[in-house]
């Protein structure tokens, strides 16, 4: 039988260290909603989402109460819409109609976000892909729960530089279209290399074409729990440090596995994966940066940060993998700036720069995430930053992503407030030397060689 100390340990993790399940995400395939008539396509999409996900929120709340563990978000991911709308959308405006349908369905079922307003263009763009990308500024400024992601590169295909160049402009237009709202549209747009098909985290979630009709994916969190555990082993060797992270990651992931199985059973939808990520929030004590400080850095960004993050990321995976029957998604440590008070402090202290963040993304999951940059940053500069980050993912066979927010009307030294889980961010300086002649070359960067690894 379970003993008193174990019961208290678990409840302390939940109550004091902010252990939570970050999201239950239902992946829904919309491939069977494809129709040559736009209205009929929208009707089918609305019907399928509201039918399958009608009980998602209530189920999440029931699990929350039965185990007394917070489940912060209930979300939906769908098949990349460029594929679903290709047959009926002849203009960017047609895609916006689907965007509004998705948003309406998300409101009806009561989820926090719906992801999958996406296109997979790692080798080239179809006309539908182009139209979807062109529709992003309007789609994200006229909906509230919709999230968009574009996969522009992969290790197998190289990087589609035409898409990268286009997206520099799209990010700026999205910022402009949502400037009354802190340029929030850009916080809902992610550019990926090697995007996973089963990621439950927003804004980059979509339901890959290789997935089943519907699945349940769960994202766990718990940076506060790791931080608390590491407080007990201050000054100890790397061996003790790593063992502590692994054990904690195991425990956190077990909760995710339990919640995923329960949700799957209650909703009668197969369990997909657990994403064992350390996902911070702006709340005090829920920070990945604080873990790096506990490992021994004054601030993230100090020399040693990349090594510390590499160690953390690897131990989280090692501990988590055994705790779940299926691990997937992004799985690792997230290092968004605006969503992590410790990262914000590091930027304000002058310890953390965009260049150091780029280096950190080589060893952790995701990439340049939730970074506010000056509103007058050129589209070609944004494309250059995206290209750099995509190259890291392509060469190292890992997922990388970019979520930059050029804040219109603001410059270095200002702060932008997004609110809620998205937090607030200091505007970070960007290297302003020109790269327009590079990003405007047409075509793609070829796939890398898979031998001679050095």
């Amino acid at each position: 039988m379970i003993n008193r100390a174990e019961i208290i340990e678990t409840n302390n993790m939940i109550q004091d260290a902010k252990l939570d399940v970050r999201t239950i995400t239902m992946g829904i395939s919309l491939l069977d909603c494809i129709d040559s008539d736009l209205d009929r396509c929208c009707e089918r999409i609305y019907e399928k989402i509201t039918r399958l996900a009608g009980n998602l929120v209530a189920t999440g709340e029931k699990i929350e109460k039965e185990f007394q563990i917070p489940i912060v978000n209930k979300r939906i991911s769908v098949t990349p819409i460029a594929l679903v709308g290709g047959a009926c959308c002849k203009t960017p405006g047609d895609f916006v109609k689907i965007a509004k349908t998705l948003d309406r369905a998300a409101h009806t079922v009561g989820v926090n976000f719906l992801g999958g307003y996406s296109a997979l263009v790692s080798k080239g763009m179809t006309q539908a892909d182009k139209n979807l990308i062109l529709s992003i500024p309007e789609a994200l400024s006229t909906t509230s729960l919709l999230c968009s992601s574009i996969n522009v590169g992969s290790t197998k295909t190289g990087i589609d530089m035409d898409a990268v160049e286009m997206l520099g402009h799209i990010i700026k237009e999205t910022a402009e279209a949502t400037k009354e709202d802190s340029c929030l549209g850009c916080a809902k747009l992610v550019i990926f290399c090697n995007a996973p098909d089963d990621n439950p985290f927003m804004a980059g979630a979509f339901h890959g074409v290789t997935e089943a009709d519907a699945i349940i994916n769960v994202g766990v969190s718990g940076p506060g729990v790791v931080k608390k555990a590491l407080e007990q082993v201050r000054g100890e060797s790397f061996e003790v440090l790593c063992e502590t992270i692994k054990k904690t990651a195991f425990k956190i992931t077990r909760v995710g596995q339990l919640v995923a199985k329960e949700a799957s059973k209650m909703l009668d939808i197969p369990f997909g994966i657990v994403d064992l990520s350390l996902a911070p929030t702006p709340a005090i004590g829920d920070s990945v940066a604080d873990i790096l400080k506990e490992i021994g850095l004054e601030h993230p960004g100090a020399p040693g940060t990349t090594a510390a993050l590499a160690l953390l990321n690897d131990q989280v995976k090692k501990g988590g993998v055994m705790a779940s029957s299926y691990v997937g998604g992004l799985s690792g440590a997230f290092i968004p700036v605006s969503e992590d008070q410790g990262m914000i402090d590091a930027v304000n202290a002058g310890a953390l720069t965009l260049e150091k963040l780029e280096a950190m993304t080589c060893v952790c999951s995701v990439g340049l995430d939730m970074i506010a940059v000056p509103g007058d940053t050129k589209a070609s500069t944004l494309s250059g930053i995206i290209a750099d980050e995509m190259a890291i993912g392509m060469i190292n066979a890992k997922t990388t992503a970019v979520r930059l927010i050029p804040v219109i009307g603001k410059g270095v030294g200002d702060t932008v407030e997004f609110g809620g889980l998205l937090g607030y961010a200091p505007i970070m300086p960007v290297n302003s030397f020109d790269c327009s002649a590079f990003v405007s070359r047409a075509g793609r960067i070829p796939a890398p060689i898979h031998s001679f690894k050095n």
Binding site: E6, T10, K65, L258
Partner: protein
């Protein structure tokens, strides 16, 4: 067997165990294990119970226990045992 863990935390007063156990008995909930201490005047009790003969819905029990706790100025929570088993047993 449908086991759950009940934790009772708060300032000590007369009749906490009596009232909690009466409620459980009235609802056919069997107590399998009890451990209780007082830490700096704070009452802290952990119970493992079996709900297999209980006819009420789990969420109703959770709500009623929470209200019972409020009448004594305590926090009473009931959680399905699975979360502890998953975390601490391989």
């Amino acid at each position: 067997m449908k086991r759950a863990v009940i934790t009772v935390v708060g300032k000590d007063c007369v009749g906490i165990i009596a009232k909690t156990c009466t409620y459980l008995a009235d609802n056919n909930i069997n107590i399998l294990d009890i451990s209780q201490t007082i830490l700096q005047e704070f009452f802290n009790m952990v119970m493992i119970v079996d709900l297999k003969s209980c006819e009420k819905d789990f969420l109703v029990i959770a709500e009623e226990l929470e209200k019972l706790g409020e009448t004594m100025g305590l926090v009473i929570r009931i959680q399905r045992e699975d979360i502890f088993d998953m975390m601490h047993r391989i």
